[in-house]
Symmetry: C2
Amino acid sequence: MEKVKVAVDAMGGDNAPLEIVKGAVEAAKESAAVEVYLVGKKEVVEAELAKYEYPKERVVIVDASEVIETAEPPVIAIRQKKDSSLVKALEMVRTGECDAYVSAGSTGATLVGGQVIVGRLKGVERPPLAPLIPTENGPALLIDCGANVDARPSMLLQFAKMGSIYMENICGIKNPRVGIVNIGAEEEKGNQLVKETFPLLKNCPDINFIGSVEARDIPLGVADVIVCEAFTGNIILKMYEGVAGTLLKQIKSGLMSCTRGKIGGLLVKPVLKETLKQFDLEEYGGAPLLGLNGLVVKTHGSSKAVEIKNSVLQCVTFKEQRINEKIKEKLSVQD
Amino acid sequence: MEKVKVAVDAMGGDNAPLEIVKGAVEAAKESAAVEVYLVGKKEVVEAELAKYEYPKERVVIVDASEVIETAEPPVIAIRQKKDSSLVKALEMVRTGECDAYVSAGSTGATLVGGQVIVGRLKGVERPPLAPLIPTENGPALLIDCGANVDARPSMLLQFAKMGSIYMENICGIKNPRVGIVNIGAEEEKGNQLVKETFPLLKNCPDINFIGSVEARDIPLGVADVIVCEAFTGNIILKMYEGVAGTLLKQIKSGLMSCTRGKIGGLLVKPVLKETLKQFDLEEYGGAPLLGLNGLVVKTHGSSKAVEIKNSVLQCVTFKEQRINEKIKEKLSVQD
């Protein structure tokens, strides 16, 4: 069996290196198809690895003396820190030494590095960052939430195609429903970008376009692939976090304000926790940066071992399902 | 004492005419400064009014034979239904017969009618719709959530000034903090519109600009006036509704899934209800359409009497605080 080689940024994220190394080890143990390259300060990674039993031939340390911090300006950091775990790991994908890259580190540096180091697939105008978000009907793909705003209609059409391939092949949703984020359901509604993109999506034979999706209906799960420009995507993603977080905080403080609430609160705690979990963006693991010469997966900054493990295993499916070949195929078709 | 004359669209909204008429009557009873004009089908409004005791000289029926439905295309509806309650009520503001207009009816028709019938104040580029949204620190003004998207930087500067005047004089927040919705805190982040607007806000002496606000932090109450373009504003507003609604639905169904949850659920119900109320957009009553020759207030389609009453009373404060004079003054200043 051909191995899927994944370069993991061992130094990136709030819980690095502990949870990152642990997750990578768990992935290697769970799937014999996985070969992980833990990129980071050698002695630090070695000390972490020493805690576990693992298949030595499939867990390899790659020394990198520097670390890119979350607060650093991405472009400068990538240019200057050539021996950082992030740059070295992405280089391994560029050269083909690895198939994929997983990091819980700086989003900005991952997005920039993905584009300038790994590079775009031929025909891809812009690589979108596409996290899975929770809905009442299971996860939906929100594409694009990246750093490049002010997209053109042709880019959004590509997002729709790439997102459909991803949802069909990685999440197993046949003929995924594609919607464009809009401020009303009617075709004539929207800003200039949406109005120009709408007919492109409508006339594209490769996707199952269902029309406009209002933000209010996104949590209901009305679409599987939610297409938008990155500024809009970022707001949707952050509103999920912000509203859910504030609401639950208020419920908790409300429960603590009286005896009746305290008693009831103890009883409902397990249910609340379970509900919270279904609605937690982090549960879904990494967001792929699609359309690159390889796979780049960005997991949440606060990722624990389970998310790193899932992100690494996701790379196996990505390669096995030949996602990039399918993207190349679909994007070369003239609409 | 000079009366504040408010034209109320008696036929607009899911609960018209019952709750609309009831709310208007309550407002007239609560404040002797209020004179309400109930615009709608005479016999229908009369039948509703017959249920209440009220000051007859300050509750007047204005007959209008037609009704504009929510689903009608706004521009056509306004052009064709000259004898609709919406058009007639807005006409009363245009002619100066009334100071303000309150409706729970079609948002689109209210926005269009406000602009083309009532008309803009001199110097106002575009009238923004500015609802109050709940935050952990009390309400904040989200400006603009209207129907006109693709705004220019100079419009957003005007939104910031108008919003500041509103929050200071209507909500009593001294020196309200103004933030611009962005995808990061740094000044260099954002789309073209935000990047061009940022220096205008930063250099404006009339407002208390605090910089970029990330969507995640909006529910925390980090700013009092949240400036954005209408497409973005619409998404923020709809995500509030959507995420809160779905989350609470999931919590409820979670509680019903086991005995322990059911018992706990009964105990926590009052607290949940109270929390929900704090987070309910509808609690804050009407959203003003600012910058017009008069005041136009749009309340939620599902408004009950209490919201109509509050919206009518809000018109009194608006006139007493001379908001439009203050807007004219501030917008004529060259920055």
